[in-house]
Symmetry: C2
Subunit: 301 residues, 2 copies
């Protein structure tokens, strides 16, 4: 990924180096690499896909952080905390462009189409979130939101790796379903960790989503079980800055069965994902995908 920008503005190289050195779990490209490895994809196109997926993800994060005004990501300063907003917009655009170049290097026009549509899905989801009033607790909205935000790119990572492999359409569809389920589980667990993690570990306040009026699965389950909870009603009515009610509500959710219920659901998604790949080649990559799926629901942060 770093070599790709060699002929452009030197500041762009330093930006890419900075972003790529900042770590992150690189879970999306790992899904692509393991899927392609399991199914016998050629190495070069697969590497281009993996780079494209990670670059696309990085570009959306760069613009997201700008929009949210976030100053830290993965514990280090975000681009917009170091650069001007103008430069951050352009840096994100540039990373989109590099992602597209990398996707084109796979030489698969089907892959390019899926990849472009995924970007449209992710951005459309963000715009919907921007314009939707906060404080709604519909599970349907929640699934739609985390599909656009996270599961769509997991799905694309696995599906596009299958597109690059010598396999039939049913296997491609299976990998699509696998990626989708893994991604849904991943985001649900992220949303659970927002409740259960401690500020020192996560690097942001407990229940930071809820504090901004973003109702995720644990809170949705809690609201369903406690329809008369006054603190929850406050949030659902758009008040989420009450300094007494909010911490009390967060404690209630943390101590309720809602967190466990959400975790059970994440495990169901993982189980569905593993089921669809159960008939596929039993090789090292298959085993690693199973490990990855287990990691997604068992990780601490």
């Amino acid at each position: 990924m770093r070599n790709e920008s060699a002929h452009h503005h030197p500041d762009l190289q330093s930006v890419l180096a900075y972003l790529l050195s900042s770590g992150g779990k690189r879970i999306r490209p790992t899904v692509a690499l393991l899927t392609g490895g399991m199914l016998g994809a050629e190495e070069d196109p697969l590497l281009y896909l993996a780079a494209a997926v990670e670059l696309l993800h990085t570009a959306t994060l760069v613009h997201d952080d700008l929009i949210d005004g976030a100053l830290l990501r993965r514990g280090i300063p975000t681009l917009n905390a170091r650069w001007s907003p103008a430069a951050t917009v352009l840096a994100g655009d540039y990373i989109f462009a590099r992602a597209a170049v990398s996707a084109a290097s796979t030489n698969s026009v089907d892959l390019m189409r899926v990849f472009s549509e995924t970007l449209a899905t992710i951005v459309s989801g963000e715009i919907t979130q921007l314009f939707t009033s906060r404080g709604t607790a519909s599970r349907e909205d929640y699934y739609r939101r985390i599909y656009a935000k996270t599961a769509s790119l997991f799905q694309t990572s696995a599906y596009c790796a299958a597109l690059l492999s010598p396999v039939d359409e049913p296997v491609m569809d299976a990998m699509k379903t696998f990626g989708y389920n893994l991604g849904m589980a991943f985001q649900i667990v992220d949303d659970i960790l927002d409740f259960t993690g401690e500020q020192a570990t996560v690097g942001k306040p407990v229940a930071s989503d809820l504090r901004m009026g973003l109702v995720t699965l644990p809170a949705i389950y809690y609201a369903e079980r406690h329809p008369d909870d006054a603190d929850m009603q406050l949030v659902l009515n758009g008040v989420y800055d009450d300094e007494v009610a909010m911490p009390r509500l967060i404690d209630s959710i943390r101590e309720s069965g809602a967190v466990q219920q959400a975790m059970d659901e994440a495990r169901e998604f993982v189980a569905r994902g593993l089921e669809v790949i159960s008939g596929l080649p039993e090789n090292a990559e298959h085993a690693a995908l199973e490990d990855l799926a287990a990691y997604i629901v068992d990780r601490e942060v």
Copy 2:
């Protein structure tokens, strides 16, 4: 282009409708359509290319206007004057995604690669401009800048249309050269009109570029001919808000031969462009491309 966004957020459809109804010359898709028409490209992929080119151009304008804080474009309010900066970033991203989907619909992986690299070139050019100190008067820098900003997408419009046509590589290369030369001429004339146009017609103050320290071809020629002009020296030393020197300098440039010299150069670019296509099929589209080239140097605004 409007149909493409049907399944996404309704606000996105209204944004696209708004942007696409706001006019503009649509000169880039016209270059693509006429080139493809001249060379016998299939209609459907050619239309997808034309849409992709215009969408890419529109997306870069949306982010540009945000960065410049521009409130008017083509005489009507820009997106960022009506929407929040956050929504404007995302709207631009979404239009990039639609451009990529449209490009993928041509089913040409070569086209996708050229298209993605063009986006990288445009954005890299903008970043360079953002980080380069203003008030330099090198022709080399100027050519590099207008290539990235304008000529690269003209080049891609003509070249990609040739990629979709039943022609050999020499013809593709000729169309690339044609698009390049047309684009260089187009931007030089734009920069001339910034000096010669009247505020009422152009919708912005005369010499708006120079007033922001951006030295374009007429000013470069003027500086070369009058190396000791004190007002020009002021600009080259980074002072371009002097309320006496700036209007005086603008008048000097307008009254000098520098404008004509720049126009001569634009005509040379057009001539070089027309020369490379002189051996190609003499059909209606070829004639229309010649008219378009003439229009580029003869237009008023």
